[in-house]
């Protein structure tokens, strides 16, 4: 903006709280318009600019629009109910017209012309051959005139900008990545907060709210990089760090204790859960005498409709920056309601509201009240505590769990027909939602957590039809879980009920549903919309469901209409919309596909036709998703979805073809279009399903499971095991360090550690030979042996010093800790002579005579040559010594008894060096030596007997599941079927990937990484040897088979897994290297290995092009993981039997 002291002219309105300015014209010739609403990504900024430019007759590029900043814009309430154009723009338009009027008056005076004679073109006023620029009419000071709402505005017939295609002003910046979303705001000196939410995710009432935090241990995280502070206020807990990733790491590591939240109402059965909550009936329409009318009817029906909880599901989780600014806070926000937010933050901090400056930036589309305001409270609490600007970015899981949900809803309708016409009609509707009090207020106890009923269930409750006897009742009630408005608010579910019921009544009356509606509609505009939409969409009249079938597919079309009535009852009408939609239903799977939607809409004056159409398209696609796919799931305590995995939304291949009809009424006021086209959606789809199948769907979403149930299609499913809910809450196990499991895998059933009393003699401590006594060739060889044996992985603790041991390894027999391999005299191998080392490596006896547990693979190491053993010894003795005590193992009976291991050795251990096989090549013999000796491949790949010994003979290297990971067969026909040959084995061991065949993952990926220093010739030798162990010929992986009863698990796969395992674009760099059909875990004899990967994810070594995979153990229940495993088995290994 230019300096207003050079002269400016504004139009304002004085209110009790101060002066609201609507428009300012400045000396740069630019008009700035101020509106208290915000752009939710709908292009409203462009539409408002059009309105202002139109009234002032300035080119669009000379109009800028400021939205939502509390210091600069009027308080016009939250940006809800599609009110911006319809209501909030009204004073703006008058102000723009007034500004023009004043400038024209001045211009005429300056040019000595009659006021009616001057013309304004492109910011210049003309009279005959004289002219003056508008900015020349400013008086060199900031002037402001009070708004005169009665100022005449332009006639729509004169519009040149409004009603015409106008390019979105924000797109060029958005498409180049330069638009500053709230997520992109950088404030000087800014640090980063990460909040830790209580375990009662998504709940907002009850005495435990704000009172459940028992304690936390800051000392556990104080030394972590970037640590600044832990901040607590009631149940609000957050950490602040220099960087965002540090803040998250600290939050994850902070030990926190919460009280166990009480169980909530069982939300699996919404019908009863909602009906049984406290509610207060409120009569909305009692015209006629419903009871008498119903008694008088020829036909009557009673129906119940159920609507699920939905997520707003913004694609960008909420974000904010706050600066305490010495008690005059500035909050950078993506709020939908900056002024309401300011009030909430005033309550939170005890500051006067006008001392808080909310600066509004665009966020991801919100479609209602999400966490955008909550995160501002979070940021402000943290900023106040540390005195620096703090940015808080919520995680996807936090947004999913805590956003105030789009509420579930229950609707009962009873109605009667008399002489084929609607005669009596009752609606009872329950909408457990309110305005979503700011979370920081609840968590800190600034507002009390009692149930807070609201009145928003009354939207669009009155059916738009002529019915003599009505009884319309809303049951006002508090939320059950945190809920607030979402696109279509209660009007969408209410209309689902109304328009489904009207459809049903039409068939009862033997009438075509469109004709039946037209018979009952009184409003001429509505009738015109219904008629024109049906005609344009090619509606085929019918008086009975047509049940059209082609093969397994059933086809139908449905109609629904609504005038969206918003605002407190009786409310205000926004645009009216009518839907005609076509569906195709797979009568074997129950899948509903919406093939085409035709929407007609009457919104009065159209400001920006493309903008209106885009709103219609958005409403169609989003509500189609809600109606066909979406529902929030719950367990006993909380909301469960933490990502799109368990809350799938509609994807590109699923969206319908869309056609629209805009009924243009330029002489009528502009009506809000942000939600109207959503409102008829559910009923239109349900009515189309009825036309196709004769089945009435009265509970959304219309998932394949519900469709199969309604249609009686086998397999009729009971509760699919993968449906979330009713599983014990899991401790978040985000990305459990996988290396630990790997170590355990290599360690095997029993493991290293001197835990038993000594059986053998002790070898006295003696100083190791000096480093100079080992030749460099020998040390290099030692390094290679060390790498071949992958010793470092097991002998390095998580976050500890390399090779200093101490990694805990849980075994079925107890927990042991790996030893310190560095030459520290007291805690490591510093006092070990070669004799002691050699004995340990070959016989499993520690220097002091303890038996080592045999999962320390001395049974393999015994086969190593003396030269290699000495080279390894030398290498270890030249490592930097590290003093590191290793904790004592805790073993269970009888493995803690001293004879056990000795007996074990006598039974299973054959300590002897490997003799070369003269019939084989040197390469082969070298390979066998490495595989069976230092490489100790059998430790993982050979199954073990009940006592933990590797099986030999035919069972050797035949594959095994070890500590949750599956190590596939290296020998026999199982390996042969996968087509391994020396070349592919070489690629695999060298690069981690045998293209098209396998990629190393989990523990094996670390083995490959460890092999990096091993010379190519040795890798080649191992491949040569391993190739000769395979038998038979390659068997191609079977083609995947899609499920015939798609369920929640199928949707989970498609939304969470397919992105990397069925990538949509070939060559996706983060996708899996090989298809799941090739996965050995999917083809393993048990699901354990597969479940481990799903639960723990993969963190691949940095050194190789091997890919990471996110861990799902924090989000999915054990039951869900098990179901997903079985699903993968059925889909990708259809030739194999299902797992037991």
């Amino acid at each position: 903006m230019t300096d207003l002291s050079e002269g400016s002219l504004s139009i304002h309105r004085d209110t009790e709280t101060g002066r609201d300015t609507f428009v300012t014209f400045d000396s740069a010739g630019v008009v700035t318009a101020f509106n208290g609403h915000v752009d939710l990504g709908t292009g409203i900024q462009t539409a408002l600019a059009q309105i202002v430019a139109e009234e002032i007759d300035l080119p669009l590029e000379r109009v800028q629009v400021i939205l939502g900043d509390t210091a600069r814009t009027p308080d016009q309430g939250p940006t809800i109910a599609s009110e911006t154009i319809q209501i909030a723009a009204v004073p703006l338009r008058a102000a723009a017209a007034q500004l023009r009027q004043e400038l024209m008056r001045r211009g005429a005076r300056r040019l000595n012309a009659p006021e009616t004679g001057v013309e304004l073109r492109d910011g210049v006023i003309h009279w005959k051959d004289t002219s003056v620029r508008l900015e020349a009419l400013l008086e060199g000071r900031a002037e402001s005139l009070p708004l005169e709402l009665s100022t005449p505005v332009k006639a729509p017939s004169d519009y040149r900008i409004v009603g015409h295609k106008t390019a979105r002003q924000d797109l060029p910046a958005k498409v180049t990545g330069t638009h500053t979303y709230i997520h992109d705001v950088d404030v000087a000196g800014m640090v980063h907060g990460h909040v830790i939410r209580p375990p009662y995710s998504g709940r907002d009432s009850g005495p435990f709210i704000g009172t459940s935090l028992i304690g936390w241990d800051e000392t556990a995280v104080r030394d972590m990089p970037g640590f600044i502070a832990v901040v607590r206020d009631g149940d609000f807990l957050g950490v602040v760090a220099t960087r965002a990733d540090q803040a998250q790491a600290i939050a994850d590591a902070l030990p926190v204790q919460w009280r166990q939240p009480p169980e909530q109402v069982d939300l699996r059965d919404l019908r009863h859960a909602i009906r049984n909550q406290p509610a207060t009936p409120r009569a909305l329409d009692r015209s006629g005498d419903f009871d008498a009318g119903l008694a008088d009817s020829d036909v009557s029906l009673s129906r119940t409709y159920v609507w699920p909880y939905h997520l707003h599901g913004s694609i960008g989780p909420s974000c904010a920056v706050a600066d305490w600014n010495d008690g005059a806070p500035i909050v950078w926000s993506g709020s939908q309601n900056p002024h309401m937010l300011r009030g909430d933050l005033a309550t939170l901090t005890g500051l006067p509201a006008d001392q808080i400056d909310i600066r509004r930036y665009q966020a991801a589309g919100c479609y209602g009240r999400n966490c955008a305001d909550d995160v501002c409270g979070d940021a402000l609490l943290l900023a106040r505590a540390i005195g620096r600007p703090v940015r808080v970015q919520l995680t996807r899981a936090q947004e999913h769990l805590w956003e105030p949900k789009g509420a579930a809803q229950l609707m009962d309708i009873t109605g009667g027909l008399k002489d084929g016409a609607l005669h009596a009609y009752s609606l009872d509707t329950w909408y457990p939602s309110n305005r979503g009090p700011n979370l920081a207020l609840l968590l800190t106890g600034a507002v009390s957590p009692e149930p807070r009923p609201s009145d928003m269930g009354d939207r669009t409750t009155i059916p738009p039809y002529r019915i003599p006897h009505k009884r319309i009742t809303v049951h006002d009630m508090a939320p059950i879980v945190r809920a607030a408005w979402m696109r279509g608010v209660s009007a969408l579910p209410n209309t689902f009920a109304h328009e489904s019921f009207i459809d049903e009544m039409a068939y009862e009356a033997g009438k075509d549903p469109v004709a039946f509606r037209l018979e009952h509609i009184e409003d001429a505009r509505a009738a015109d919309l219904i008629r024109r939409t049906a005609d344009a969409a090619g509606w085929d009249a019918r008086d009975t469901p047509r049940l059209r079938r082609e093969g397994r597919m059933a086809y139908g079309s449905g109609f629904a209409y609504a005038t969206y009535v918003h605002g407190p009852f009786p409310g205000t009408a926004a645009a009216a919309a009518a839907w005609v939609c076509d569906v195709a239903i797979d009568m074997e799977t129950g899948e509903v596909t919406m093939t085409r939607v035709f929407v007609g809409q009457d919104q009065g004056l159209v400001i920006n036709p493309d903008g209106v159409r885009h709103q219609i398209h958005g409403n169609i696609n989003q509500t189609a998703s809600r109606v066909l796919k979406e529902e929030v799931s719950f367990d006993e305590i909380t909301v469960t979805p933490q990502s799109w995995a368990t809350y799938p939304i509609m994807t590109f291949p699923e969206v319908p073809e869309i056609d629209t009809l805009l009924i243009e009424r330029p002489e009528e006021p502009a009506l809000g279009v942000g939600e109207s086209a959503a409102v008829p959606s559910a009923a239109a789809i349900a009515n189309a399903i009825f036309d196709a199948t004769g089945v009435r769907m009265r509970e959304a979403p219309f998932t394949p499971e519900r469709m199969r149930d309604a249609l009686g299609i086998a397999p009729r499913e009971t509760m699919p095991p993968a449906l979330p809910g009713r599983t014990p809450p899991r401790r978040r196990t985000r990305r459990k360090p996988r290396v630990l499991a790997m170590a355990a895998a290599i360690g095997g059933a029993l493991t290293a550690g001197a835990v038993a009393l000594p059986m053998a003699r002790s070898i006295p401590a003696s100083a190791a030979p000096g480093a100079g006594s080992f030749s460099s060739d020998l040390l290099e060889r030692g390094a290679q042996v060390f790498a071949t044996g992958n010793c470092a992985t097991c002998h390095t603790a998580e976050g500890g010093v390399a090779n200093a041991g101490g990694r805990p390894i849980e075994t079925p027999f107890g927990t042991i800790y790996t030893t310190n391999l560095t030459p520290d005299r007291d805690t490591g191998l510093g006092g070990w002579s070669f004799t002691a080392f050699d004995r340990a490596m070959r016989k499993g006896i520690s220097r002091d005579g303890h038996n080592l547990y045999p999962a320390f693979p001395y049974t393999s190491f015994a086969r190593m040559s003396g030269e290699d053993m000495y080279a390894l010894y030398g290498y270890l003795q030249t490592l930097p010594p590290v003093r590191a005590e290793v904790p004592t193992a805790q073993m269970v009976f009888p493995t803690n008894l001293r004879p056990t291991n000795a007996v074990w050795n006598a039974l299973f251990h054959r300590p002897a060096e490997l003799a070369p096989d003269p019939a084989q090549s040197d390469d082969w013999n070298r390979g066998r030596y490495l595989v069976e000796g230092a490489g100790h491949c059998s430790a993982c790949h050979s199954p073990r007997n009940a006592l933990g010994a590797e099986q030999t003979g035919a069972a050797a290297l035949s594959g095994a599941t070890i500590k949750g990971w599956f190590a596939p067969a290296l020998a026999g026909s199982a390996a042969g079927a996968r087509g391994w040959d020396a070349d592919s084995l070489y690629s695999y061991l060298r690069d981690g990937v045998a293209p098209g065949r396998a990629a190393a993952s989990g523990p094996m990926a670390d083995v490959v990484a460890s092999l990096a220093p091993v010379p190519d010739a040795d890798i080649r030798a191992m491949a040569t040897y391993l190739a000769t162990l395979t038998e038979g010929t390659e068997v191609a992986a079977p083609e995947p088979v899609l499920p015939n009863a798609p369920d929640a698990t199928h949707r989970l796969f498609e939304s969470a897994c397919a992105t990397c395992h069925e990538p949509a674009i070939a060559g996706t760099v983060t996708a899996a290297h090989v298809p799941l059909g090739q996965s050995t875990a999917v083809r393993a004899p048990t699901p354990e290995g597969l479940e481990t990967v799903i639960r723990e994810g993969l963190v691949a070594p940095m050194t190789h092009d091997l890919r990471d995979m996110p861990a799902f153990g924090g989000e999915l229940s054990d039951t869900q993981i098990e179901s997903l495993g079985r699903y993968l088995r059925a889909r990708y290994a259809p030739d194999l039997p299902a797992w037991e």
């Binding site: 885009h614 992105t1059 760099v1069 990471d1108």
Partner: protein, 176 residues
């Protein structure tokens, strides 16, 4: 506990950048926090929504699940790197998204533009169903799918026209 900081060399939008950072941080985090490239967006952190998509040697990558250290010597291109570096002219895919208004809130736009660029590199002439299939794992919550598909079709046409124009010029040059 200490920061695992190493020297990381990343080629981003044609420039080699040396960064002293923890290579285990996600590429998305490094691009946004260290290089100020805010085009790629955080949406889910699980590779599910696509808002973070960048190109790595021309192929799409979900930057939220790729650790920066995993990039190696490969070249990263972000939304900011698509326009012509010299003239500032938008990439045809960007221009098409503006022309067809392929965004409402635009938060998912980065992923859709980057995915479309990758798709058209592989298949310059996809039909609508191919485009829909290629964008199957990019989520858009505003419901802008129709305009987005139109944008990709528009881009394909524009790129084909440009290519044939260039081919004509080249042919012309050769015949001279």
């Amino acid at each position: 506990m200490t920061d695992v900081t190493t020297s990381l060399h990343l080629t981003v939008n044609g420039a080699l950048r040396r960064l002293d950072v923890d290579p285990h941080r996600t590429l998305l985090d490094i691009l946004r926090a260290e290089l100020g490239l805010k085009g790629p967006k955080y949406g889910c952190g699980m590779a599910q929504c696509g808002a973070c998509t960048v190109l790595v040697d021309g192929a799409p990558a979900r930057a939220c699940v790729m650790r920066a250290g995993k990039v190696g010597a490969r070249e990263v291109t972000t939304l900011e790197g698509l326009a012509d570096a010299e003239t500032g002219a938008l990439h045809p895919v960007q221009a098409a998204f503006v022309a067809e208004e392929g965004a409402q809130c635009g938060y998912c736009l980065n992923g859709l533009v980057m995915s479309a660029v990758a798709l058209l590199r592989q298949d310059p002439n996809p039909d609508e169903s191919l485009i829909r299939a290629a964008l199957a794992h990019n989520l858009c919550r505003c419901g802008t799918h129709k305009e987005i598909v139109a944008s990709v079709l528009h881009a394909a046409r524009a790129m084909a026209a440009e290519a044939s124009g260039q081919a004509a010029t080249e042919t012309g040059a050769m015949s001279e």
